[in-house]
Amino acid sequence: MAQQITPFFRDALDAYLQASETPSFRKQLVRMAGRNVKFQYADDFAPSQVFSHLPMGDRHAGMTVCSWTGGRDLRPEGLKPNEVLNLVSDRYRAVFDRHMLSAFDRHLDMGLFWSPDAKSITATERSTPYRNILHWWASDNGMQLTHAAAVGRSEGGALLIGRGGSGKSTTALACLAAGMGYASDDYCLVGTKDGAHHAWSAYNTGKLVDGGLVMLPQLASSVVDRDPVTGKNILALQRRFSYRLLQGFPIKALILPRVIPADRCEARPLSKAAALAALAPSTIFQLPRVETTFPILSKLVAEVPCYELAVGIDIRRAPEVVDRCIR
């Protein structure tokens, strides 16, 4: 039986197909979490560099993400910039958020991303693009796109958890600068592999405050942008640190950084409840609601050792302590 595409998805897909008839159209095939993902960029918003650390994909079936800007205006009349429209049906997921459309057809395994223009796409969206689409795709594949940094080795690593501003990114980038492997600073994929909890890299970017760059000057040449909202420097790590970028690892520890005004750095056990409270809400409330999110994160917290990392004035002391938590 032929699959019937609902009118709104068909209209959006038609708009993409029109936009894709352009000389700037290009494709990027990658392997993400062991699965093929094909990005199709119709115009100047083509954030291929954030995925350039991933292995090349092949032509076998996998998710396709169609990305374009401008062209036919898909916004509904009267939608305010801060209003979010959310659709959940058996087949479709869709969100209009800050006038950007993310949509996912679960039957076709296809995502659509559209923005009225490339200039209005935020620095956060540029450094971690298509989060909603990856989130829906991950959910359909037994994984969860998780708000966490991920550092360690291919044999095992740690998720750094906590809400924005807690020190995850700075700690993760300090680990990278110290020679540890790096899979994410903001969002990574979490699931299971061979029966064990596993993290996979999605993006190769990082964000660091000015003070962090002073502490970690070896990262300064990787700065490519600045987020005007948070004031953080956005780093593209593939060019200078490709040899330290990990595809993923078994998760050996969950670590909650806590900045302290002291000259020490130490880890101590963290209660499961505190770990889940640090991990789950910032993932749940920054992504469209999906029923599998909380169970996946709850199981992860229940089965993996959890620590609180008191990070003092010198962030450069954190990597050694993180490494001890992983071993």
């Binding site: 939608l79 659709l87 869709a94 499961k272 409840a273 505190a274 920054q286 609601r289 909380f294």
Partner: protein, 130 residues
């Protein structure tokens, strides 16, 4: 009473419980006596039954009606006609544990995300209009 699912999701670890209200954007934790009271209420126990069960598990038992009211006010517990299974789930302990005043740690730092960007759920037929 019962946990206000599906608006509220929760996870219990030993003597701690984490709850997240997905609708209003707040999350909570409670432990020890608080976890017992929450669990007993969610298993269908009335307030007098809860006080009675607590006496079998804690060395001193004080009035927990205020804490129970807080759980209801926060939308974590709602009325329910489900059978009371609290007796089996919360047997007496020997020795009893030291009483700790029940406390509900409440976090609303994520609530701003929902207030700043209100979400309108739209059906497939209505999409993309509100």
């Amino acid at each position: 009473m019962r946990i206000n699912e599906p608006d509220v999701v929760f996870q219990a670890f030993d003597d701690e419980v984490v709850l997240i209200n997905l609708v209003v954007g707040k999350y909570y934790s409670t432990s020890k006596v608080g976890a017992d009271v929450l669990g007993m209420a969610a298993a269908g126990a009335s307030l007098p039954k809860i006080q009675e069960l607590l006496e079998g598990r804690w060395d001193v038992v004080l009035d927990v009606s205020g804490f129970l009211l807080q759980l209801v006010t926060e939308g974590l517990l709602v009325p329910s006609m489900t059978p009371d299974t609290s007796t089996e789930k919360f047997p007496p302990r020997d020795p009893k544990l030291l009483w700790v005043e029940p406390k509900l740690d409440t976090h609303d730092d994520m609530q701003a995300l929902l207030l700043l960007d209100p979400i309108h759920d739209v059906s497939e037929q209505g999409w993309p209009n509100k």
